[in-house]
């Protein structure tokens, strides 16, 4: 049993006036009031005002170390755009860090050479100085003595080199070591297939554990959603909410956090509530259509939806009609059923990846491809769907769909989920474009479903 912890309430802001309107409650409410009720012109004015405030601010200089800390950790922890952040940190900081490392190594290498040369000079000087001594009492001490003893007997040039070797280079090395200790940069390539709870918790821990320094999570697009789920898992328990402080603190230290909005979103929400950006945008974005396909347990698989041509859409519509009427989908392929009548559909189904190559069965996988049919987005979608679901229900999409009674409910459900997904992808991203492409089928399919009923 998990130990109980007292509830931790964040950033309750009260009593503020915005345009004569009393603002109560959370930051979330305030932001919603600001941004939901404003015209684009008003938003532009707010933006201008913010710029003016920002220009007047004297943000404390965190020094070179603070500026070097990349925001990736915080970004990944809080479900922000990890890839963007990663790009920023890689582009801006990694070359600098690598350059610094190279310089330190080079200095060490040069130091070794100089030390060798200095040593030989020192020996030569010591050797030459012996015969010039007049009395045994003033004879120089052997080089094995203290450094000052040694320096006394060296030429000014050799002394300088010796000092550099003995003091400057070690100091430089120590500074370098100090730098890297502070930065604690860890580059982690998240392995493929890290989807289960253990791995999620591992990542959670990894992220929390690295609170003292940044972790560059090298992840592709598919793994981005994993990171988002990690962020979500941080809300599973109060203790993990504390970990969110790490996410807030790091941007503070970095002074560079770009996409902090979702940090605040997560920090502002109570566990199991949606993040602020999603809530806000849900209000302001035009409801989008959605793919309507889902897993259908009874037929032992999932439905794949592909970027379709018209003829393919027709096939799919017919297929959905069949399902809605409660017909066995296998009739499409059974010799006694629709198979013989609709043999022409098989190539289409194959093209749409609706047939399992290994078994020949109709495979109802959710499957979304890009416009050129190159990239399967199924996994991204599924991960996103799971991620979107988890904050509210704690259920996996599979479990959720199991609870739904018919394809209409599934369709509505998918609408909500994919709408939320769409909202998160932001305009212009390829993913959003693809989603937009497939979203248009939603209303049409809903209509078909209604007709079929």
């Amino acid at each position: 049993m998990i130990k109980e912890r007292k509830h931790y309430k964040l950033k309750q802001i009260e009593g503020q006036q915005i345009e004569g309107q009393q603002i109560e409650g959370s930051l979330l409410e305030l932001i919603e009031k600001i941004f939901n009720g404003c015209t684009p012109e008003e938003v532009e004015r707010i933006r201008y005002a913010l710029h003016r405030i920002q220009q007047k601010l004297k943000v404390p200089d965190l020094g070179p170390y603070g500026r070097l800390i990349p925001p990736v950790l915080a970004a990944s922890l809080t479900g922000c755009n990890t890839i963007e952040s990663l790009k920023i940190s890689m582009e801006r900081y990694l070359p600098a860090i690598l350059g610094l490392m190279a310089i330190i190594h080079l200095l060490g290498f040069v130091g070794d050479i100089v030390e060798g040369v200095a040593e030989s000079w020192r020996k030569r000087e010591g050797f030459q100085s012996s015969p010039t001594t007049t009395t045994p009492q003033t004879q120089p001490t052997p080089p094995s003595g203290g450094v000052f003893d040694t320096l006394i007997n060296l030429s000014p040039q050799t002394r300088l080199i010796s000092l550099v070797v003995k003091y400057v280079l070690p100091v430089l090395g120590a500074i370098g070591k100090f730098l890297f200790n502070i930065l604690k940069i860890v580059v982690i390539d998240i392995p493929l297939g890290m989807r289960n709870l253990s791995n999620k918790l591992f990542l959670t821990n990894l992220i929390v554990r690295s609170g003292g320094g940044p972790v560059i999570l090298r992840a592709g697009r598919r793994k981005e959603s994993l990171l988002r789920r990690v962020a979500n898992s941080l809300h599973e328990h109060q203790a993990l909410n504390r970990a969110i402080h790490v996410a807030i603190l790091l941007p503070l230290l970095s002074g560079l956090f770009k996409d902090i909005s979702e940090v605040v979103g997560i920090a502002s929400k109570q566990p199991n509530q949606p993040a602020v950006v999603r809530v806000i945008t849900k209000e302001i974005i035009e409801p989008a259509s959605v793919i309507v396909e889902s897993r259908i347990r009874e037929v032992g698989g999932e439905l794949k939806v592909v970027a379709m041509k018209e003829e393919e859409k027709t096939v799919l519509k017919n297929y959905i009609k069949l399902l809605v009427k409660g017909e066995d989908h296998n009739k499409f392929f059974s010799k006694s059923g629709l198979f013989r009548k609709k043999t022409e559909m098989i190539p289409l189904f194959k093209k749409m990846n609706l047939i399992e190559p290994s078994t020949g069965d109709l495979s109802l996988y959710r499957f979304v491809m890009d416009h050129e049919g190159r990239e399967p987005y199924y996994e991204i979608l599924l991960e996103r769907l799971n991620w979107v679901l988890n904050p509210e229900s704690g259920l996996s999409i599979e479990k959720k769909i199991e609870e739904l009674n018919n394809i209409k409910e599934i369709a509505v459900f998918c609408y909500e989920v994919v709408n939320a997904m769409y909202l998160r992808t932001k305009e212009g991203s390829e993913e959003a474009r693809i989603l937009l492409g497939i979203l248009t089928t939603y209303e049409e399919i809903i209509r078909i479903i209604d007709e079929a009923r």
């Binding site: 920002q54 709870l197 918790l201 821990n205 230290l253 305009e427």
Partner: protein, 110 residues
């Protein structure tokens, strides 16, 4: 209905709002000499995490509840060692927020 550009503008403005809020909080924390304490907190968290979880293989083997309980313990320790930190941070953010709203209104109206 907002166009995509309107939405983009709103989101960017929101992001700017929060960034300025963060900067203001940073100013406040710095003026209170809190930044060093924040760093110490993070260092200690790191140390405790490494101490308790040891390595990733160990974590994968651990039960979920055990992980959460371990995290609880860690944060309990941190609570004791840094009793006022969270409160101070929240205060700084809260004050910064109020200040920002005030400044925003002032600038907006001008």
């Amino acid at each position: 209905m907002d166009t995509n550009n309107d939405i983009k503008l709103k989101l960017e403005t929101l992001e700017l709002f929060i960034r300025v809020w963060r900067d203001l909080a940073l100013v406040k924390l710095d003026s209170q000499g809190m930044l060093k304490e924040v760093q110490r907190y993070l260092d200690r968290l790191d140390e405790l995490m490494l101490e308790r979880f040891k390595d990733e293989e160990n974590i994968v083997k651990m039960k979920r509840e055990d992980i959460l309980n371990t995290l609880n313990d860690i944060f309990d320790i941190l609570d004791k060692e840094f009793p006022d930190l969270n409160e101070k941070l929240n205060e700084a953010y809260k004050e910064a927020f109020k200040e920002l709203v005030g400044k925003l209104l002032e600038n907006y109206q001008n």
